[in-house]
Symmetry: C2
Amino acid sequence: MSTATSPAAGSVIGRPHPLIDGKARVTGALRYTADLPHAGVLHARFVTSPHPHARIDGIDATASEAMPGVVRVLTAADLPDLAPTSRARLLLARERVLFVGQPVALVVAESEAAAEDAAPAVAVSYTPLPAVATLEDAIADGAPLVWPEGMPGEDDEAAAHGLDAAGEQEGPQRSNLANPVSLRRGDPEAAFASAHAVVERSYRTSIVHQSYLEPHAVQVDPGLGADGVTVWSCTQAQFAVRKEVADVLGITESDVHVKPMPVGGGFGGKFMLYQPLVALAARAVGAPLRLVLTRQEELLAATPAPASRATLKVAADADGKLTAIAADFKFDSGCFPNSPHSAAAMTTGSLYQWPAFALTGAAVLTHKPSTGAYRAPGNPQLAFALESTLDELARELGIDPIELRLRNASRPGEPMANDAPWPNIGMHQVLERARQHPLWQDRGAAHAAGRGVGVAIGGWQGGIEGATAACTMQRDGTLHVHVGSVDLTGTTTSFAMIAADVFGIDPAQVRVVSADTEPGYYSGASGGSKILYTVGPAVAAAARDAREQALRIAANEFEADEEDLEIVDGAVQVKGVPSQALPLAEIAAKTMQFGSQYAPVKGNGRTAPGGRSPAFCAQLAEVEVDAETGALEVRRLAVVQDVGKAINPLTAGGQLMGGAMQGLGWALYEAVEYDPDGQLRTGSLMDYAIPNITQSAHDLEAVMVEVPSDHGPYGPRLGGGVGGGPPRPRPLRRARGRRAAGDRHCRRRGQRHPRRLRRAGDHPADDPGTDP
Amino acid sequence: MSTATSPAAGSVIGRPHPLIDGKARVTGALRYTADLPHAGVLHARFVTSPHPHARIDGIDATASEAMPGVVRVLTAADLPDLAPTSRARLLLARERVLFVGQPVALVVAESEAAAEDAAPAVAVSYTPLPAVATLEDAIADGAPLVWPEGMPGEDDEAAAHGLDAAGEQEGPQRSNLANPVSLRRGDPEAAFASAHAVVERSYRTSIVHQSYLEPHAVQVDPGLGADGVTVWSCTQAQFAVRKEVADVLGITESDVHVKPMPVGGGFGGKFMLYQPLVALAARAVGAPLRLVLTRQEELLAATPAPASRATLKVAADADGKLTAIAADFKFDSGCFPNSPHSAAAMTTGSLYQWPAFALTGAAVLTHKPSTGAYRAPGNPQLAFALESTLDELARELGIDPIELRLRNASRPGEPMANDAPWPNIGMHQVLERARQHPLWQDRGAAHAAGRGVGVAIGGWQGGIEGATAACTMQRDGTLHVHVGSVDLTGTTTSFAMIAADVFGIDPAQVRVVSADTEPGYYSGASGGSKILYTVGPAVAAAARDAREQALRIAANEFEADEEDLEIVDGAVQVKGVPSQALPLAEIAAKTMQFGSQYAPVKGNGRTAPGGRSPAFCAQLAEVEVDAETGALEVRRLAVVQDVGKAINPLTAGGQLMGGAMQGLGWALYEAVEYDPDGQLRTGSLMDYAIPNITQSAHDLEAVMVEVPSDHGPYGPRLGGGVGGGPPRPRPLRRARGRRAAGDRHCRRRGQRHPRRLRRAGDHPADDPGTDP
């Protein structure tokens, strides 16, 4: 081990620390799911639907199965006939296909190439059926229904929604509208009638793909002998995968072991998808099996973020106090009704203090892949709509946009849309900090130069869940931190810092071990931006417990009082007496040997959720629009965010910048596009435009405001939801010297899809799809 | 899951429970190390020394490496030059070989057959050197020394001995005698001079092999990318293997993961042997590598139990009170000085209350494989010697042998040889119970029929070590018990019973998860017969903690007091109100979901060693000797043992019977034999005679006495050391109908080696090697 040095008090938390696994990630040394040894493992490849909606009349795999290396072609007939209550349970299409790209058959072969070659040889006969590809078509009268006989398990789906329930659920629909919600406070109609100013606008956003660098990948050992099923997969939610795989296989969770692999980007899109199918297929062929999606399959058949349509009407009095809002949010949720419309309605009614509101929302079913989570589901869409409308209102009222927000933004204790009080939040601090930022202060000069400066706020409640963790001392002098959470955003490094700070050693002496589903470290899914403040407290508690145990052993060895001991340079010593020191490695060794008199040093942490730690940001952007071409350039972008406490400013800042870049891509470049027949137009990264560094803000800055939350060690808030995450397919490079090929082709894509988030009120002529 | 039923109070502990993994073991469904998938894994085979002692002049692997499928032939030159401080660090012979069968080169090939074929093609040139094959030759004047330049790390070896140190260590020897010990109390010489009766005898025992059914097996993944080294192996001591592999590879323990596989019999012989070598070899070839020993390699190059030579002189007064003992124990420890002579001396001075003793012992180095642990190391050898001598003394005194023992056997609080007081032990209860046994009561009839009835006692202190465990509630309604110990003797079943009893569910609802070295469940090696009483308390504490957590959640849900709740039929209910019940599966689900308000149910147990729980047995045997042929038949064998508390009488009884069978084999059949040139005569199970059921006692009975120890839940004592264990190569079968081929060939072997434990005093003419 490296020479242990002890951190000075306060020298760990809040100081930039490189990602512990950063080098392994950037050098390619980290082993992802697709890198697992696969000697003796079979390979699977999809046969996918070319139709958005069709009846399957027959599947003939004879020719395919005769091809070299092909082991078997599986169809729905080879799998259990499950009620298709979720995308993961659609497995392979049975009787009907519901979207282009839906898996219809699975070719299992001895090599990936053999499976790839044999997939087109599977002959599937279809009778095309009427389909709806767009949200507007889907809610038109007489539109073909996605689930004409009723959505299987519709209620279960709603219950599993996982976000704050908002308003009442109405009964099942006989249309493509699903899970409508309605929230109401006061008398918005009267408020609108008596308002000093009213602004009403409509907005639309596109489907966007999470565009993680690593595609979905899963490898399954169906179990040999008495062993259970083992699933290796890049998942944000190993325990959810365990449950679902057990359920579809009809075995108990105890017989399924899920080994969560490093995740090469998730952003909400890697909870669960094809793990149950591959597990069933591995069982059917009786051999280990792997499936790694192609980028095209990712764009065809994953779970992107939904397109949205929003209409908002806001009112204020002459003093700039908001008096009412009426808003409706519809999300194109694809073939299943998973949609963040209730979260959007809830947040809309909560961000500001509205005396009256009428908020509605619904999922809209279409013949497209069902959608998933992506960065604070529903919030980017509502923030775009709400903040754009408030800017218009500020102009109408002649009030500074930040001032308007400060007069109305919710403070701790004020009611949310569901009348529960806001916990300790830093929205006002963030707005005040944004107001002081040079980008805002100097906006007069920008205006004079023909550039626009805008502001918007956004936020996310964050998830809650309990967690367990442990810290064990090892004979090599390290402290092992055991957690059950998957690292998406650098939590491994943050946990090492927390444990080091609490225990009193250098973070280099800490090793974070992310457990699989076996050893009993349940931490919940790495979603909802919650891991740092839900698992972090368990890590801190475990480290504190371990420290006390180590001191107790040293006290016994020294015949000293624990109070008189300290941990310095990797050893317990009598305070101020370095000559009387017992290295931590020796303490561990004393507990880990035959005849030992001490219990092994193992600190345990187990925490119930303390409450949410919502986080807010204000983003400032200075943009320049070419008046002739309409080409838009973001010159400066500043993210001012309340991070509670930046445990590791390096990764926290990176999260904020990454999130802002994803927002910029969502706003200006990215769109999963379908033609009116339901065919995907953006089936590759040549067509789906992820912004390159040259298309990012020329100057991107993250400003961290620290308003400690009431929970967790040090009070960190979420960083992921409104921040960033791991790499996306084209890692950002500062443009130096020659430009990479990716730059050029991203620029081209940029030209095709210049702006995806359009302010309907600003540019009605640009947007024929805008609602009136 | 099966329908949960709740155990009635007291209905779990002490009731026979089949082994949880019994079916998987007997149907071959359990996956042992050799059964691991090995597609893409290379195979290793030894080239072994034909000489007991020789200089290696050269190794030419050219022809071998040219053979089909051979990847590489490794020799010591390819491995680090470590000081050979232990057998595991001998790796491949460097310059000298020290025993027949010592690995000299390792052939690595793509298949086991290719490696097997290529091993004889490795040309090794030797210059034979003088060797000593027997204990007697080794201590003769002028005997060739095993370590002429001094034993590397002699002191470390002695320190690592792991048993109670007894007496003073003298300086390093310039002979083959190593680590001599000497213990003395009072004035034994004066006691002998004034004694009413004195008996002096000498004894010898053979080398015996632990003869586990499964040979040593190890598979190593040298690590790909950022991963560490992974070792799968049937080991009793995964944490020791982790440390040693890390040390020899020169990496930190944190980078070595040891996955302990099911152990197909260990009996002390499967701590660590070839794991470091295979890890180094896998690194050298840069690919996963496996080694599975053949039975011949097991007999040639494992670590059998040492042969012994003992001389004892005991004295008593006319009342049958023992007054003095002088004893010397020498063990043939092979090429390293690991030997249980200090334990033998210590136990000899402790079992009975001797006013005076002079006890000595030493290891004797020979050119043979070094020896290892096997069933209470040193104790079978000393018990044979001491108990035989006491029987002679009883005859001399005209006192009933059990009565003589009862008058002198140590009681709780009386001093051991090191003057420390005996803890609570049940030696007297065991002797009293044996005296009442029909086999003893009816011995007059046996004598009349020409049969002999004998008695002997034996015991074992047991190891001590702390342990950690956890119990987690799962959504499938099971309680998972997490431990870091390897199951050798049915501890998995016992832990399930303990957790079920404490938590209040059926053992069928409990799943014991034996963790590898990663997740921080340190429990120490499964050796020293200690796991049930060292890890068991941690399991009980964890189950109690988990139960309290579950009750607290239910209390919150019911708005009831925890005191008013009970766990019945897998649900928490208000006492006596089955209609108000919350299934445990639902409680678990409430803690394992997004937005959960509860911490996951995870009970932790962490226990320091409470002290030893020594166990004693008395064995009664009725034997018949054919006066003409000398053929000996054991008609009845009864084991009366203090088990403290039989958690699971089925496995506890099985342990006692298995141990007795192994003792019978040791006494009558088994011997690893070398010829005077140091060549192994017993290189297969055709030559090494393990008794079959027809050679066992006609009637074998285990009687469990329960004198609860002061430690652990329920007060169990060790069961392994003086009991039995998992299957040995020829599982015992009651002879019914036709006899299996194994029976016949065991009978033949029995004739060749009729008795291996010989009472020198009884049959001096039979045993030319007996000391005077």
